[in-house]
Point group: C2
Chain length 228, copies 2
Amino acid sequence: MTDRDVDVLSRAPLFEALDEQGAKALRANVTEVRLARGQTLFNEGEVGDRLYVVLEGKIKLTRTAPDGRENLLSVLGPSEMFGELSLFDPRPRTASAIAVTECRLAGLGHDDLRPWLTGHPEVAVQLLRALAQRLRKTNDVMADLVFTDVPGRVAKALLDLAERFGQPGDSGLHVHHDLTQEELAQLVGASRETVNKALADFAQRNWLRIEARAVVILDIERLRKRSK
Amino acid sequence: MTDRDVDVLSRAPLFEALDEQGAKALRANVTEVRLARGQTLFNEGEVGDRLYVVLEGKIKLTRTAPDGRENLLSVLGPSEMFGELSLFDPRPRTASAIAVTECRLAGLGHDDLRPWLTGHPEVAVQLLRALAQRLRKTNDVMADLVFTDVPGRVAKALLDLAERFGQPGDSGLHVHHDLTQEELAQLVGASRETVNKALADFAQRNWLRIEARAVVILDIERLRKRSK
DNA sequence: TGCACAGTGTGACGTACGTCCCACCGCATA
DNA sequence: TATGCGGTGGGACGTACGTCACACTGTGCA
């Protein structure tokens, strides 16, 4: 594990509460996983009691409806944690994890983590905080599904992706989200076609430029206004 | 606090991990709150670091969109916990809590709970489990918003309410949810009119009978099938 | 007794968005 | 060069559901 990895890991909620020494000890239990683009880490319905932190790349969490339609819960990048629900609440996984780009993950099993939860209460408290934040965010997304139209949700999703993956460039804010429009549609709960039209409309207004699996945001203020 | 209250309280996730002695000690920190129907416990945007467990009655958690439209996150009954997000993640409340019926609550403040989290790791673990379950459930509801039509969501909501508040009777399963159709509509993310029509349709098919702030489920299997 | 008001029942109408369709483009494999 | 194939762009059409409108009922309060 490189210094860079250590740095990425230390920003994850799990490690945030630990001092250098504690973090080092916990890192000793971590196993690294590598995935190619499109590869599946785990599938909905499987049992599993490992949580993961993204070291490098992006991974998506998806759910499949009985009729086969898919729903994208989130796209996660470096320092973000997932898979912990099955660890805290021992049930089969309710989502599949699939690599959106080539990526590397740090995995931690239930048995490795348990002693830390009981022995270091500040770790448990930190995790409670992380879950509480997630619950808040999920409630926000749910409200958007009810109150905001598709273009608005697309704008919101782009802004969220921009915040997490955006890189300022001379021609605008580059957001290399690595998602197809189909995936973007699953993320906002709409059809691919409608999302495409929303994007085209934004591009025509010069709020952004569309690139392959990326957008360049040109007028973030307008986009922000449209997302409300 | 009556024996009955103690019993209700002991079923809450907070107390589940404690033995009789521990539970008794934690109960000593609890303060009781009484609310009349329609009364507000706390409002979105306020600061607060108390969590509550319902002892008796029902309470709803609602969010208000900027334009004033409302969204019902959930309706909680005895033994159910709420308000803990602001306790674990110190931010203003993101929902308001309003009594749906006259009700009594047990409240517990951050300072009273904190020593238990750090001193009794099994309490923290139990809470992590509770939050993980909630996150799962919320994700389910979100998927329904995307994939299921309004009648389907109404059916789902009724089945959920039935599970938690239903009482078998000779003429069917009585579900006294105490919600107006307007509130039911906010709960499933639809307009009052559409929900009314869905209910009328179910009633006409003899799947249920509509009563004031209640339904009597006559054919739970059909209803279950419709909810999928 | 009557009035006000909250909640319910139901029809008419518009529209946002899903579905279906096909054309186009770039890229890989034969 | 041809032949797919995954992804994008965009038009035509249908429909589920929101909005508006109004009538009806029961319950509380003067």
